[in-house]
Each structure stands twice: as C-alpha cells, then as structure tokens.
C-alpha cells in the first residue's frame, strides 16, 4: 500500500476529513459530475418509470414493427412493435436491482467477515480465509449458472445468488485493506482504553477502509451488471417479455441485420452506465489514494 511509503500516513485519518481534503485539493472534474448525473438520471427514470406516462414496455403493436427512431417512438420499435425507449427505461430496473442488490449482499456479509477476521486474526481468520480461497478457486460462473438454472430465474433469486457468489472476493479485498489498520497505534490505543471489539471495528477500522470499499462497490456493481447481461444471453436472467438490457440485446440478434437499432440503444444504455460507474469508482479511489501519498 502507498501508506507504507509515507511516514506521516501512520497517523489516524478520519474519512470525513480525508474526503473533504480530497475535494478541496482538487475537484473531481467535469467528467465525474457528468457520470454522477447520468447514474442519477438512470436511477430516477427507473424509479419513476410507471408514472412518466411511458408506453407499456410489453404491449405489442403490429402496425409498427421494427421501426427506426421516430417522434412517436424515440428509440424505434422492436420486432413485436414494442416501444424500445420504454423497454430501455424499464430494463434499467433489472440492472439496477441486480447490480446494487447483489453488491449490497456481498459487501455487507463479505466486509463484516473481513473486518472481524482482520481484527481478531487467529482461528476465525484462518477458517474464513480458507473458505474464501476454496470459493475463489471454484469456477464461479459455473456455480451461478447451475444454481440459477435449477433454482429459478426470478429477479430476487438472481440477485441473491450473485450476491452470495461475490462474498469471497469482497472478503479478500476488504481484509487486505483492513489488515494494514488492525495493528496501528490508534487501534492499540483504543484497546488499552477498554473499547469493545465492536467499537474498535466500527469506529476505528471501518472508517479507514470505507473509501476503498466505496470504490470497490461501484466497480463491483459494474461487473454484476455485465454478469446479468451474460446470464440473459444464456436465457438465465429475467424471462421475456420482461425487458432487461441484457435480454433486449440478446433478443435483438434475430433481426439484427434488418434493424440494428434493436441492439444499439440497450447496448448504449448499458455501456454508458458501466463507463459512469467505473469512472466514479476510479476517481474516488485515486482522489483518496493521492491523499495518502501526498500527505
């Protein structure tokens, strides 16, 4: 870690303070705010989809099949005459729920175990670390495909399965970050003052690894969105006619040479969403990294 190179980084650092310094020292840049705005827009549209007066994403209309973009249908219509704009907006719900939902599950369980293991060490650490190695060596995609294939592919099951599959990775990343703090002087000081384990973990260690967790969380959401798309191609995501970006792109393959718009708009939505997530995650990480290095 960069912290080791700088002697002054040994001092405890509060997150609020470090975030504040980072923002004060150098703004996140225009791109960061454009990306944050885009994510906010996607979330807002997905939340308000049913009250925006959009056309029903599953209503078929045989008078307007495979149309390009028009005023009535901004993104055109698909092979069943359904409005692609409305399907892209409703499809965002699937990506958002699976992406953020799965990462919340992986993060909350993985990070709790990691903080406990890094602070307590000993048997707990050994046990959970060994389990995480076994899970990481297991071909995760195979496990996810198998469980979804047999257990069912509704939205919540997919979210849960991907979330659980992500636990060992989160565990390893957070444990590595927390280990560096678990033996620092301020933790020892807290312990000698008689602070409880719970208090040390939540008040002393967690705030220091939180920045790393936030950026890992966002980049993790991007990976889960990609995974959901891949599952859709295998027929293992939410079932048609419910739209998701993944199954829209997958279904588009049949009529692709006649109507490339079919694939273009959901692909663009997904790509821009992924770029935004990655860029925000990366900006946060480097802002906080520089912070430690430059102190």
């Amino acid at each position: 870690m960069s912290s080791a190179s700088s002697p002054r980084a040994q001092e405890p650092l509060l997150v609020e303070e470090s975030l504040l310094n980072a923002t004060r020292r150098r703004a996140f840049g225009v791109m960061f705010w454009i990306c944050a705005g885009w994510i906010a827009l996607v979330v807002l549209l997905a939340l308000l989809a049913s009250v925006l007066g959009l056309q029903n994403p599953t209503t078929e209309n045989y008078d307007s099949l495979n149309q390009g973009p028009t005023l009535a249908h901004w993104f055109g219509t698909d092979d069943l005459g359904r409005d692609i704009f409305s399907r892209v907006v409703y499809g965002a719900r699937v990506s958002l729920i699976v992406g953020f939902g799965a990462m919340v599950i992986s993060m909350s369980i993985g990070a709790s175990l990691a903080l406990l293991a890094a602070y307590r060490r000993g048997k707990i650490d050994l046990l959970v670390s060994a389990a995480s190695y076994v899970m990481l060596a297991f071909p995760a995609l195979v496990a996810v495909i198998a469980i979804i294939a047999f257990w069912g592919h509704d939205l919540w099951k997919i979210t849960l399965i991907i979330g659980v599959a992500g636990i060992p990775l989160v565990f390893r990343v957070v444990r590595a970050a927390a280990l560096g703090y678990a033996t620092r002087d301020f933790v020892v000081a807290a312990k000698t003052q008689g602070a409880s384990d719970w208090r040390i973990i939540t008040k002393e260690i967690l705030p220091n690894v939180l920045p790393a967790m936030v950026s890992f969380f966002l980049i993790g959401v991007a990976s889960v969105v990609i995974l959901e798309g891949a599952l859709a191609f295998l027929g293992l995501s939410v079932q048609p006619p419910t739209p998701s970006w993944g199954n829209m792109i997958s279904e588009s393959r049949t009529y692709l040479s006649q109507n490339p718009w079919l694939a273009l708009f959901p692909s663009l939505a997904m790509i821009l969403f992924l770029i935004a997530l990655n860029l925000i995650g990366d900006t946060l990480r480097s802002a906080l990294d520089h912070q430690e290095g430059k102190l």
């Binding site: 060596a137 195979v142 469980i147 860029l279 990366d282």
Partner: protein, 315 residues
C-alpha cells in the same frame, strides 16, 4: 524452497477436495431429475425407478459421492447420461478449443498491452498516455456479449471477413479455416485482458522508473528503449504476473460466455448444455477439471515469481 512447495502442494490437495465436494453437492442438491431428461417427461414411473437405481441415484448422497470420487481418483470421470460419451473424452475434445482461444487472446493482449504500457509510462500524462488510459477505460465498459453482437454484425454479416457463429472446424482438419473462426472470439476475449494488463503494467512501470537503478542506467548513457525493455520491464512484470493469476478464472468465465454465444464447442459450451440437460456426471467432471486447471495455473504462477525475481525466496 522445497518445504514451501510441499506445503503448498498439500494446501492444494485440500482445496481440490473441497472443490470436489462443491462440484458434487452443488449439482445434486438442486432440483431436477436426470431420468426425466433421459426418458422424456411422459415415460412411466416404473422405467424411471429402474433407471434411477441403474444410475445409482437411489443411494444416499454421501455414498454417491464416494462412488464418484473413487472413480475419479482412478481416472474415470464417468459417462454422459445423454450421449453416453465418456466425460474424459468430452473434456479432451473440448478443452483444446478453450486452450487455443485463451492462448491466442493472451498473446494478442500482451502484444498490445506491453508496448502501449511502456510507451505510456515513458511520459506519464503525455498525449499518448492520456489517450491510451481513456481508451482502456472505455474498453473496460464493453461487455463481451455486446462486442460479439456488433462484431458479428459488422465483420460477418456486412463485411464477410470472418465466418459467423457455429463455423468451428478443428485445427487438425483445416488450420486456416480454424484460425479464421477463432479470430473473432479471440479478439473479444483479448479486449478484457488488454485493459487489465495495460493498467497494471503502466502503474507499476511509472513507479519503477522513479527508482535509483533507472537513474544510474540513464547516467550511464543507455538508450531509452534499452532501459525500458531490459531494466524496467522485468521488475514490473511481477505485478503483471500476479494479475495474470487473478485474471485466469475471469478469463475462463469469459471464454465460456464467448464460446456459448459463438457456438464454439469448448468446455463452456458443453457445460452450459449439460447443466440444461441435468447431466450430473458431465457437469461435475468439467467443473472439477476446470478447477484443477485454475488451481494448477496459480500454483505455477506462484512458482514463477521466484524465477522472475530471484530475491524472492519462500520460507
């Protein structure tokens, strides 16, 4: 060193034992009845019961596991319920495709990522560095399935440069056709790796170039190119090696998706089909095989660390 290797070897055996448990119980605890896929949903209960006991599926689970693992340890992975082909045969015909795909894509990725990273690290924040960093960012957000959809549209349907999905021919039958069919999937698979290798190598090179032995080399009047390739790349390739180890399971997963979408009959294609057909032994066999490969590759990479940097000795 020898002691370290022996210790690692036993840890490896332990991991493989748990993976065999996982591969077996994961598949068996899930709902789904192989006799339904074999006999069809309309066959009577009597035939189904007969087949169940013939396949040994009526035994307690732990007993089934012991039978399976006993056979596996003797090199017998069993045979597919559906095609009656032996699982080892399925693996030996499918695996070369994954291997070819991964090797071509990694050669492609390294031959683009390494020179780009070297050029970028020479002038951090220069024009080339900023361009390639931004490009790598955009590439990171291109999922393989979207690439495949548009590559097939552009290069197969419009331009006819490459054959479309389902045109795989074994290398031994027609090497030219085989390579033509492998180019598209290899490029798709390479793109994800290029980003990882470029970013890690660039970051590491920038910090390596600030070290004193580089300044010494510069003051000796060595050429920039010589310093980059001979002095800077070697210490920085440690990070590259570590990332290759972490990358390998993602690479296998990526290869599986690409194969399935382009109908290349590799392990990924086989395993998705066998999962859909509740073909227990094939799924278990391939899962175990893939896990063994991943674990072994990581073991070898761990060993390579000491070769790349002889200062590293393990106690």
């Amino acid at each position: 060193m020898a002691r370290y290797l022996v210790k690692r070897f036993f840890a490896l055996l332990g991991i493989l034992f748990f993976i065999s448990l996982g591969a077996f119980f994961l598949i068996h605890l899930l709902p789904g009845d192989p006799t339904v896929t074999i006999l069809g949903p309309s066959d009577n209960a009597q035939n189904r019961a007969a087949l169940t006991s013939q396949l040994g599926l009526n035994l307690p689970l732990w007993h089934q596991y012991l039978v399976w693992i006993g056979n596996v340890l003797q090199g017998n992975l069993g045979e597919s319920y559906i095609t009656h082909e032996s699982v080892s045969r399925i693996i030996s015909t499918a695996f070369p495709i994954d291997l070819e795909l991964i090797i071509i894509s990694q050669l492609l990725a390294l031959s683009i990522a390494v020179p780009t990273a070297l050029a970028s690290a020479k002038r951090p924040n220069g024009l080339l560095d900023r361009t390639s960093t931004t490009t790598s960012f955009a590439l990171l957000a291109l999922p393989p399935f979207i690439l495949i959809v548009f590559f097939v549209l552009i290069f197969s349907i419009y331009l006819h440069w490459f054959p479309g999905p389902g045109s795989y021919i074994p290398f031994t039958q027609n090497p030219g056709q085989n390579l033509r069919a492998m180019i598209l999937p290899s490029i798709v698979l390479a793109i994800g790796s290029i980003v990882i290798y470029f970013r890690i190598l660039r970051g590491d090179l920038i910090s390596t170039l600030q070290q004193e032995f580089i300044t010494v080399a510069r003051s000796k009047g060595l050429s920039n190119r010589y310093i980059m390739w001979r002095h800077a790349l070697r210490p920085s390739s440690l990070a590259l090696l570590a990332s290759a180890g972490l990358n390998i399971s993602g690479l296998v997963a990526g290869a599986f998706v690409v194969e399935y979408l382009l109908a290349l009959p590799g392990l990924g294609y086989e395993i998705v089909n066998s999962i859909n057909q509740v073909d227990y032994l094939t799924v278990q066999g391939i899962t175990l095989f893939v896990a063994v490969v991943i674990v072994l590759v990581n073991f070898v990479i761990d060993f390579l660390f000491t070769v790349v940097d002889p200062r590293i000795t393990r106690e």
